[in-house]
Symmetry: C2
Subunit: 144 residues, 2 copies
DNA sequence: ATTTGCACTTGCAATTTGCAAGTAAAATTA
DNA sequence: TAATTTTACTTGCAAATTGCAAGTGCAAAT
């Protein structure tokens, strides 16, 4: 549905086919920083994604190996969405977007402070958060 | 047309309102690495952007201060599009996308080698290319 | 047994995209 | 000087995507 024919040989263009839209990176952000992991969690996000768009984006991200579904430990009715290592590796991309926006836009003071702090030792921050995410994304793992 | 009402207070979401689509970053890539600077240059790009979409994206990027128009030194019929400092500052974002895709996708060998090389000393590469871009984007400057 | 929660799907109108053709001014060619 | 070509778009229209609202089916709670 989403995959297959690439527009060109440029990796930037096929990366954009994976997450180049208004919603995908927000879902990934929610999984990275918002502690969100279920369909309803994402639905409740500040930006108000429509339910059919959410379903379509989750499907696309899963097809592209950025996220994966698993059984929720609390209930069979719930589905736990988790970032794959490939998804976790989008952290540097998202970080650079935050750093860029911190330079050119206004935002809540606490967020601004956090970004500035992370920027001071970018590599350390990325490594630290990556490590935490890898732990978080495996700990509740039940099956696939 | 494009600007105004933001979806949330999250800088990631309003950054995506600026370049979160399938085309904007490709135009910026062409200006950074493809030595492209006119409407027809962008039209001829590998991915084949439609002319109305190109016009709309250029307008949006200009409204958001990422690019700017100037008089082409060769001809009054031509318009020279240039990256602003804000546009040049998207280099780290684009770089991280390249690095991500280099890890997970196949691509032409020479490009792969270039990315790997740039990745070795990321900061140095970014500084170097930023410097070159700042020079390039001002040298032919005529007026606004 | 009934209601609620969860993860979706479906229908439909509105917006956006993509393709093709057209336009106006500037530059080139005859 | 006139005709053609180049350049940067705009316009029209069909197709695809988005967004909103209202389901649907299964699980869990009451």
């Amino acid at each position: 549905m989403e995959a297959s024919k690439k527009r060109s040989d440029c990796p930037l263009s096929f990366s954009l086919d994976v997450f180049g839209d208004k919603w995908s990176l927000l879902i990934i952000r929610d999984m990275m920083f918002g502690n969100k992991c279920t369909y309803n969690d994402f639905l409740k996000s500040e930006e108000g994604i429509a339910t059919n768009i959410l379903a379509s984006r989750l499907k696309g991200l899963e097809e592209n190996g950025v996220i994966e579904k698993s059984v929720h430990p609390d209930s069979k009715a719930k589905i736990l969405y988790r970032l794959t290592p490939k998804g976790i590796d989008l952290l540097p991309v998202i970080m650079e977007v935050y750093i860029w926006s911190e330079k050119y836009y206004e935002m809540p003071a606490d967020l601004k402070a956090t970004i500035k702090e992370a920027k001071k030792d970018k590599d350390k921050f990325i490594k630290q958060v990556t490590k935490e995410l890898k732990i978080k994304m495996t700990e509740k793992k039940s099956s696939s």
